[in-house]
Amino acid sequence: MDRIKLDAWVGIFVALGLIALMGLAMKVGNLTSNDIKTTYVVTANFENIGGLKPRAPVKSAGVVVGRVDSITFDTKIYEAIVTMSIDERYVFPKDTFANIYTAGLLGEQYIGLEAGGDPENLVAFDKISQTQDAVVLEKLISQFLYNQASKEEEEK
Amino acid sequence: MKKDLIVSIKDLAFGYAERQIHRKINMNFHRGKVVAIMGGSGCGKTTILRLIGGQIKPNSGQVEVDGKIVHEQGRKGIYELRRKMGMLFQHGALFSDLSVYENVAFPIREHTDLNEAVIKDLVLMKLNAVGLRGAHNLMPTELSGGMARRVALARAVALDPDIIMYDEPFAGLDPISMGVICDLIRTLNDALGATSIIVTHDVTETFAFADYIYFIADGIVAAEGSPSDLKKSQLPFVKQFIHSEKDGPVPFHYQANEYISDLGL
């Protein structure tokens, strides 16, 4: 097997492998979206993040605009600090709301951003001040039961 | 001034946990001589070659090659010593994926920086010495046993070594090939001014051209001397070996009970 044929075949093989890898990355995965774009970091505090996990999507109007980087706990104010990276193509006003929603009925949780009306925009390392916590099922049920109970009380 | 003694083995002891192969071996090999090591099967002849080549280390005693103690050398030291040696393995041990030409060129390419034209001349020269210059394009699988061994010999002498070692070079050869190899061993040795160490069983051929012979039995050198001396030797072991006697110090019967009791009588 002379060298030139050998090199040719090996070259074809490696090329096939790399094409497959690229194909997987582009067509199959979601690499083309925001993983390679530059982002800016903002934070938000929540009293309860529910089931929010790092790498959860940050969406606005249903479109993915960023990802959750990390979630930490602040022992001074006893709240969760969520750090997220937002694609720098998208700017949001300073009074944007950050809410925690659930995808579908029992799906994973994500952050939804609703733009406010402030003429000034969020810049890197800003803090989103308006937040809404995740819906915790137990609280919902207990609230429902409490409402039921008080309604029955009223009717009596 | 080069030392006359190129390899010397002093008080060598070597063995594994199950078996002590060498108990106390003393051998000396002088420059320019063809020396044979003979003995029964399993007496450790090939092991001596491996000890000289540094593939295994002795339990005690020492093997000295060209003034250096083999088992004390580091990796680099051993490789330097090996460049002075050429070894012919029992069945040739040619690299099966390389052609005859590439096989002989292998040590030259590895250890020198010569360009292709010079290498070609050297390879063809070595192949010519063993009579196989015309076969340089063949693959090892296309060669007969005798031819393969000759190519391996060409490879072993490719770098003009000072010590050439042969592991059972006559085993399984037809008379013509045997004659050829005998002739080559002697001719190459004298032409290169090298020392040849041959491990063999073959009495007739070896006695015809060797300068000195060592006999190993029971882990020691049982007898040594020139072929003419040994032919006159009265030692029972040497006599049994040289005259191919069926029974003697090396018994015919494996250890067993009395024949009568085995037959149940």
């Binding site: 097997m1 060298r3 050998l6 090199d7 075949w9 090996v10 074809i12 093989f13 490696v14 096939l16 492998g17 790399l18 094409i19 497959a20 890898l21 194909g23 997987l24 990355a25 067509k27 199959v28 995965g29 979601n30 690499l31 993983d35 790498r55 | 080549g53 593939q55 051993i78 490789y79 330097e80 090996r82 460049r83 040696m85 070894m87 393995f89 029992q90 069945h91 041990a93 040619l94 690299f95 099966s96 292998f106 040590p107 590895e110 250890h111 391996a152």
Partner: protein
């Protein structure tokens, strides 16, 4: 009765000793690896023999696996009305698990046994000894290039496997069964995460490549220099590689799912 346990103990001790010897071979290969890269032609030759010659079996197997995934997945998903998730099912199953694992098993069977047999045979015909006596390290010249070739080849083969498998699944799902083409790809893209699934799959195939190649090399290098010894060694290569791959798969998967 006691001898039964004695045998188990002896067998275990033997296996642990061999594991140590294999580890030592691994580090020896690493320290002798400079030649594999300075004379890269050696490694390229080995990539040809392990990689290029395995392409046929990998591509054909991948296509069939993908098609079966498509079929099986469809008939299960449509019971829950989620037949459009077939793309996600095929892609995730392949990229996360089947790609790396099945490729590794096929690699061990085809390339691994070839390596073991080749090196074992070289040992049996004293070619390795001859090389040593010519002051050339057989580890640097013969063993290390095959090691690096295996490491380079495995992830490439696994990627090809996953891609061809997805195509196989596509062929079954869209033209044959009639799942919507757009849904197939868009659901897949939405649910397969690059760094999580694809990169992890890549890492897995890399680890499997190291394991299978080392096992094949060690069994060949350590084989008794007889015909029977070599044939037993090739069997051991396949068995040990398969067990190692499946075991490592569990370990790696549990790592990756928690991180």
């Amino acid at each position: 009765m006691i001898t039964f346990f004695e045998n188990i103990g002896r067998g275990l001790r033997l296996k642990i000793t061999r594991l140590g010897a294999a580890t030592r071979l691994f580090f020896t290969i690493i320290s002798y690896s400079s030649e594999s890269f300075k004379r890269f032609n050696l490694t390229i030759r080995e990539i040809y023999f392990t990689g290029v010659l395995s392409l046929i079996i990998i591509i054909v197997s991948a296509f069939f696996v993908g098609m079966v995934l498509g079929l099986q997945g469809y008939y299960t998903l449509q019971k829950y009305g989620s037949s459009e998730a077939i793309g996600v099912l095929v892609a995730l199953a392949l990229v996360r698990e089947l790609g790396p694992v099945v490729t590794a098993l096929l690699f061990a069977g085809r390339a691994g046994t070839a390596i073991t047999a080749e090196i074992g045979l070289m040992k049996a015909t004293e070619q390795l000894s001859a090389m040593e006596m010519m002051a050339v390290s057989p580890v640097a010249r013969i063993v290390a290039p095959r090691f690096w070739a295996g490491i380079i080849t495995m992830p490439l083969l696994a990627s090809i496997f996953s891609m061809v498998g997805i195509i196989g699944g596509y062929v079954v799902a869209v033209p044959i069964i009639g799942v919507d083409e757009g849904a197939f790809w868009s659901q897949m893209q939405a649910n397969v995460d690059f760094s999580y699934d694809i990169v992890n799959g890549f890492i897995k195939s890399l680890v499997f490549g190291i394991a299978c190649t080392i096992i094949a090399l060690f069994e060949g290098y350590d084989a008794p220099p007889t015909a029977e010894g070599v044939s037993r060694a090739t069997t051991r290569t396949v068995v040990t590689s398969s067990l190692a791959v499946l075991g490592l798969d569990f370990v790696l998967t549990s790592f990756m799912l928690t991180v």
